[in-house]
């Protein structure tokens, strides 16, 4: 048993779980606490990955790569948050989806910077304060610590007075404005924070896989993260942790069936789809959710 957990296979999975926990918790912050159905989360993930990888390949120390991943992903968040404040519902979903596609197009076509479809190979190992994470186990410990910190950070946001206002905004935007809450400011902060966290996941991912290309950061990836959030329950932090864990592990048994890669990939998507349908029928609020996702209302009659 212990041997299994120490195997590279298991460690890879555990690291992926850490990365997806960060992604789903940060997306849940945006979906569950600002009411924005954000379909561009993979873009923030990708921006963080590219920022971190490019700086690392240029020889910068890891802590600078890490900060850059947070900063540029957060900047991406601001870029989508400000223009889309006026949008809601389906329009907002389409706008964020468009942002995700634009980000991916930039990764693919800005060849002089990103090498386009060729991707960025040979991303160096993480090292800081003279310590290099050489083994998978060390990397896992690092990813675990970061994931725990992100989860604690997001939980703290949600439980703080700031978070109380977020919950109020989610319940009734008009009533929140009537008691003096600048709801736009709150939403922008939430989206930037969520995006910045996704950037952290991107940095971990880039240095874990050591190769990134635009095909990782697609709409499919966003949908996978949305599934994790919905499975665990919108606006439930522990729900997102469980949701991410389940969906990372779920398709793993397929590996042992010895199917051709193309078929395995298709089967994976089918499993996700079937799971979502079952969920919608039997547990529409997710495992831990008290809330069903609904678009934030504000233009309804006063």
């Amino acid at each position: 048993m212990l041997e299994f957990f120490a195997s590279n296979y298991a460690l890879n999975l555990l690291i992926l779980i850490c990365i997806y926990v960060i992604l789903s918790v940060s997306l849940n912050l945006i979906i569950g606490y600002s009411g924005m159905l954000n379909l561009g989360h993979a873009a923030f993930f990708g921006i963080g990955a590219y920022a971190s990888a490019l700086l690392a390949l240029a020889g910068y120390p890891y802590w600078i790569c890490f900060i850059a991943a947070v900063f540029f992903a957060g900047l991406g968040g601001a870029m989508i948050a400000y223009p889309s404040l006026k949008l809601r519902g389906d329009y907002l979903a389409i706008a964020t989806l468009g942002f995700g596609e634009i980000a991916r197009a930039v990764m693919k076509n800005w060849v002089s910077l990103t090498r386009g479809p060729l991707g960025l190979p040979g991303i160096p190992k993480i090292s800081f304060f003279g310590l290099t994470l050489t083994t998978k186990f060390q990397f896992f410990i690092f990813a675990l610590i970061i994931a725990i910190l992100v989860v604690l950070f997001v939980s703290k946001i949600v439980k703080s007075p700031f978070g109380r206002v977020l919950r109020a905004i989610r319940e009734d935007e008009i009533a929140a404005q009537a008691i003096g809450k600048n709801i736009k400011k709150y939403k922008v902060i939430v989206v930037i924070t969520g995006a910045a966290c996704a950037g952290i996941a991107g940095s971990l991912f880039a240095h874990h896989i050591t190769f990134i290309d635009p095909t990782t950061f697609t709409l499919m990836e966003t949908i996978l993260i949305v599934c994790m959030v919905v499975l665990g329950g919108v606006a439930s932090i522990r729900g997102s942790v469980i949701g991410a864990t389940i969906l990372v592990l779920l398709p793993e048994p397929l590996r042992f069936l010895g199917l051709p890669t193309s078929m395995a990939a298709a089967l994976r998507v089918m499993i996700y789809a079937a799971l979502l349908i079952l969920l919608m029928i039997y547990k529409p609020n997710g495992i831990f959710g008290e809330w069903r996702f609904r678009h934030a209302k504000s233009k309804e009659a006063l």
Partner: protein, 258 residues
């Protein structure tokens, strides 16, 4: 303290507010009355910034607040309730109250820091909230979800919430509508109490008994403009007002518009 000057707001062909002007003096309790569709709620929405007027001005202490964002108008000291109750139904009564209070720790960075003052401030807010809840007789419900209160209790909570921000001016849209006689008495007493405390209040109400008991001044609206203004006793006898309530004036006006 509040001056509404020649406000206009048309929704397509509907002249919801059509040149409405009136004033609320500091410390006065003013009733805004008029038949359904007269534009009273729209005036409230114009004052509190939820709707921008086509023309006209809203002045608070001679400061132009026309078209300011609702949250800024709230910060200027205008607090309101809604004709259709708006609470945070899945949050507790206490949380509903605390949200209305001044709280610098709602700032993102401050709220993340482990500050001692933050805890003290939270405790003070809980204290103040309980005091106000006692005032509206809801302190026993502090941990109940707002959505689980009875209709009358929700009305009281909405009022307490509006008071919690310590407003200069309180706007109440039909505070006594749809409540049972016991609750009506409670709300009447509450407003009398607020009057004693010297609060400035503008309220919309159809219950004339209630209006007569509480208002210092009555402003009558019909067809989007004010048609009469004065002390309750005089308004009661005003011919135009009686006509408006009997429906003559409105019907004739509506026909003319078409």
């Amino acid at each position: 303290m509040l001056k509404v000057k020649k406000l206009y707001k048309h929704f397509g062909g509907v002249k919801a507010v059509d040149g409405c002007s009136f004033e609320v003096e500091k410390g006065a309790i003013v009733a805004l009355i008029g038949p359904n569709g007269a534009g009273k709620t729209t005036v409230f929405n114009l004052i509190t910034g939820f709707i921008e007027p086509d023309k006209g001005k809203v002045l608070l202490y001679n400061k132009d607040i026309t078209g300011m964002a609702p949250y800024r108008i709230s910060k200027e000291g205008v607090s309101r309730t809604f004709q259709i109750i708006r609470l945070f139904p899945k949050m507790t009564v206490l949380e509903n109250m605390m949200l209305s209070m001044q709280n610098v720790y709602e700032n993102f960075w401050l709220s993340m820091l482990p500050l001692k003052q933050k805890k003290l401030h939270e405790a003070k807010m809980v204290n103040d909230a309980l005091e106000l809840l006692k005032f509206v007789d809801l302190e026993g419900k502090k941990n109940a979800l707002a959505g689980n209160l009875s209709y009358g209790q929700q009305k009281l909570l909405e009022m307490a919430k509006a008071l919690a921000s310590e407003p200069e001016l309180l706007l109440l849209d039909e505070p006594a509508s749809g409540v049972n006689p016991t609750m009506l008495k409670k709300i009447t007493n509450l407003l009398k109490e607020l009057k004693k405390k010297g609060k400035t209040i503008l309220f919309v109400e159809h219950n004339m008994d209630f209006v007569m008991k509480i208002a210092d001044k009555v402003v009558v609206m019909d067809g989007g403009e004010e048609i009469a203004e004065g002390p309750p006793k005089k308004i009661q006898k005003n011919k135009r007002v009686l006509d408006a309530y009997l429906g003559k004036v409105i019907k004739i006006k509506r026909r003319k518009k078409k």
